[in-house]
Structures are given as structure tokens and as C-alpha cells.
Amino acid sequence: MISYINYFVSYTNTPGSCRTPNLRKVFQIQTLQKLEIRSFPFTTPNIAPVMLRLLLRNSRLAPRRLPATTRITVASYNTAQLDTSLGPKYDSITDYGSYRNSVFTHRLPESTALQSPQLAALHSRLRLPQEYTFSTLSQALNMDKFGGLANNFGLSTLGKTFLSYYISEHLLLKYPRLPMPVHNAAVDAYMGVEVLAEIGRSWGIEVDRSSKLDKALAKEPEFLQYGRLRYLSERSKELKAEETGVHELSAEELQTMNNSTHQFVHRETEAFASSVRAIIGGIYTHCGEEATKTFIHSHILSRKVPLQEMFQFSRPTMELARVCEKLGLEDPLEIRLIAETGRLSSHAIFMAGAFVGKEKLGEGVGSSLGEAKTRAVVNALISYYMYSPISAEGTEIKLPSEEKYQFEGIVGTGDVAI
């Protein structure tokens, strides 16, 4: 006999108050979108036709099919796709309030959700505010579109928008000179599917793996499933014995397949990630913008991203010379040997510095002159790109989402590389 203890007497059932989004924020998000769209040509190869022509001219082989780039690129994080499977209807495409699904779905009653011990534990583990209802938390864990219960698609889209806004804001303000590819990779390091899935697992979210038959045989109470992540179909739950090492890709997984690396996003990974996004979206729905920001800052942005390890320079010296030229430095860039030891021994050490006049831009130690020089140049480049402005008081600069924001922090001469 199984009995479950539920301890959530102190949580009151308050109907969720949905707030309308702040107009200022929507405007900011739209401007960000524009920024990303403008930078899109840098990230997508537009040279496909040229390459195809070259291939045709130079090789006797038939032209190979270029790998399809169906994988969602970072630049398209903000462009939400309309889900047509539930038959949405609207008066006007820009009037978001008029969007209605024609397939009937209902929300889980709060009284049922309150019975789920997993939801009570998760609610408490994430220290969610009391206004955050258990039924919303349960909806955030539901990926099943056709089960009759409301799914997490909308909440997940909302959460994704907030995540990408606050993460871009943090990166753009803290590292204004970060090159676009590194910025995109850093956004991915914070809110990529794999990372969000890892976060979801660390929150102790469980997957609902038992079929209806198993539940009936185990005499499991119905409300227990509402606290689990539901993404598996009834059929795949019944087919438990999956052969190890063999995995049949579903249609969604095939779409995420990267042909060059042969990697795909597992459905479970995607499900965990979307539940994390939906939980964040739920915070906005119930508790508003400030709570969402605090949550993202404490759970997502508190993680460490090793930015200085994310640069890959192909010709660093040339690039540093170009940066110096762009900054309009008067003296030429020089690489000088600062110190050395054991030049004729098997373990020589050299220390080189990248100088402009009397200013040292960077220094590096290596076991050959070339290595020392390259390290010096790379250090100079990284210290330029990873420049982080501080306020006049020496504290961290304010973010645009804070109140009474004024642009501060000296970016220095030259363009801000965003």
C-alpha cells in the first residue's frame, strides 16, 4: 500500500492574475529583435550559390546537396513560431489578446494540483512566490498537446522571450565589445537547450514514464502524474524496452539534426528545456516583471560562462593590428621581447609583450618566440574584447531594465563592437 504525505497547507489558492505586458519592455524587445535581425547576415552563410557554382566548375562529381540548416540559429531566438496544430483563430494577427485555440483545452483545477506532492516540493525548492499557482506549475510541465489539458507552449514562448531579453541585456551591457559570434555563443551557453535541460534536471523534475496501464496496476493516485514532466506519448511509454545504442529519431529530432556534427536535440532535452522556460514564463504571468528578472539573474545568470575560453582567432596579429588601426592609435603595434631564459637549452622560456609606443596591451609567456608572441597578441585582443565598463563609483553599471536608467560607463574610443 502506498501513501503519500502532502504538506502544502500554508499555500492558499489565489486565482492567477494575468498582467498585461509593459509597453516599454515590448518596445525594447522589438528593438533587440531588430538588432539581431540586422546582424543576421554575418552569421548565416550567403555564399551557398557561389559555392555550388565552384563545385560544379571544379569537380567532376555531381554537386553534393548542401547540408540543410533547419537547426534553430541563435539569431532567431526571439522570433516565436505560431503553433498551428491547435487551430488558433484571431481577429487580427497583431491583436494578441484575440488569439484563441479552436481545439478545446482546459486548465487543471487548482484543487487537484494542490494534491500533488511533487508540485509542492518543486514550488518550495525553487522558492516560488505564493501567487504562483500549482496549476500553472503543472501546466509548465505538460508538453502533451492533445491530452485535453493546457500545455506549456505559450508559457515556454513567454519565458524564452524574457530569458533572451535579460541575457542579451546582461551581455551587451557588461561586455559591450564582445564580437557577435562570441556573444551568440555566450547566449547559447546561458540559455541553449542543453543548458536549460541540465538546469531542469538539477531542479529535480521527474519524467512521467509509466503508462496508463502501469498506473492502474500500481493503483497510483491520478494527481501524482500532474507533478511530472509529460512529453512521452502513451505508445512510447508502453514500448519501454528500447534497444541500447539504437535510437529512432522522431520528426522533431530529425529537424534539429546537424548534418555536419551528426548531433541532434533529444526530445527529453527539449522537454526539460521547455519546462524550465515555461516555469519562468509562469513567474511573469503571476508575479510580474521584477520577479522574473530576479529569478533569471539568480538561477541562469549566476552560472559561470568561461568567456575568455570562447575566442578562436585564426590570425591574431593581423586582427590586433586592425583593432589598433580602428582605434586610431598613433604609434605602430610592436611585439617586444621582455624577458627570456635558457634560449639554448631544451626548456627555453620567453616572455613577449604587445606594445603600442609606451603602452603595453598584453603579454604572454611561451616556450618559443612564436608562441610567446601569439600569446601576447591573443591576451591583448581578449582584454580589448572583454572590456567591462564600471560606473563612476566603481560599482557595476545599471541595466536598462532598472528604474531611472541612464547610460553610463565609458566605452572608450572606437566603435562598440556589437
Binding site: F8, P181, K304, M310, V365
Partner: protein, 142 residues
């Protein structure tokens, strides 16, 4: 020539600005008949409502109570995917409570001996001493 990015995954720092307890679920399994479960039975039916208090004080953990034949076991589920089954046979009430307390506070990682002073994700703030930054006249000459 432009800079390329090397994709990385952010490193978790549980405890920096937010803390999520790694132990998310405990199943307390006992036998209604066997003598080795006496301590666990006493713990569950204690007049001071020990289990109730435990669950009230640890709301972030889900408690599951299973009545099943055999020796009593507590199974702790951790966020890193580890499951730890702890044998609690023939323990007194106090020892049962102590075991529960101890394993609920664990991270789920195997305890290991670390023979260095600092274990950190971050670089040393002071940096590594370099002989090349000493004034040239004071340097050691080979």
C-alpha cells in the same frame, strides 16, 4: 579572419545567489511485521509526529512512504541522477532521524579525499608568481 566562437556550456554554481537542494525525493520503505523495521515504525508513529515535522521543515523534498516486506531502506534521489539506498535495519528512532537528516543534506556525489588547499572553478585572484616580473638586476642568474 574574423573571430570564431568556441561553444561552451555554462558551469553550475549552486549556492551563488540561489540554492536548490540536490536531494529532491526520499522514499521511506519499511515492513509492517519484521523486527528490523521496529525503529522506522516507531519513527513513523512517534507521538511527537516526527515525520510530520521533518516534512514541514523540509518542504523542498518529496517524501514517499512505502510499506513492503523485507528490511527497511531509505532511498534518496539526488538531482545529479544518483539514487542512494541506505539500510536502516535495527536502528533506534534517533538514529533513523539522524540518517534521514544526514543523507538529505548530501549532494549525491561520492565523498572523496581532496589533498589540496583549494577546489575552485575560478582562477587564483593573485595569479601565479612569475620570475620574469622581478627587476632585471634582482633576477636569479643561471
Amino acid at each position: 579572419m574574423p573571430v570564431k566562437a568556441i561553444p561552451k556550456v555554462s558551469i553550475p554554481r549552486n549556492g551563488v545567489s540561489s540554492f536548490v537542494r540536490p536531494c529532491y525525493k526520499v522514499s521511506l520503505q519499511y515492513c509492517n511485521w519484521g523486527g528490523s523495521s521496529q525503529g522506522v515504525r516507531d519513527f513513523l508513529t512517534h507521538p511527537n509526529k516526527l515525520v510530520d515535522r521533518f516534512a514541514q521543515n523540509n518542504k523542498d523534498v518529496m517524501f514517499e512512504i512505502l510499506s513492503k516486506g523485507g528490511h527497511p531502506t531509505f532511498t534518496f534521489h539526488y538531482a545529479n541522477g544518483q539514487k542512494q539506498a541506505v539500510d536502516v535495519r535495527n536502528l533506534k528512532v534517533g538514529d533513523v532521524a539522524r540518517k534521514l537528516q544526514e543523507y538529505m543534506h548530501r549532494s549525491g556525489n561520492e565523498p572523496f579525499k581532496f589533498n589540496h588547499k583549494v577546489l575552485s572553478n575560478n582562477e587564483s585572484v593573485r595569479g601565479i608568481w612569475s620570475p620574469f616580473h622581478v627587476a632585471k638586476n634582482d633576477r636569479h642568474r643561471i
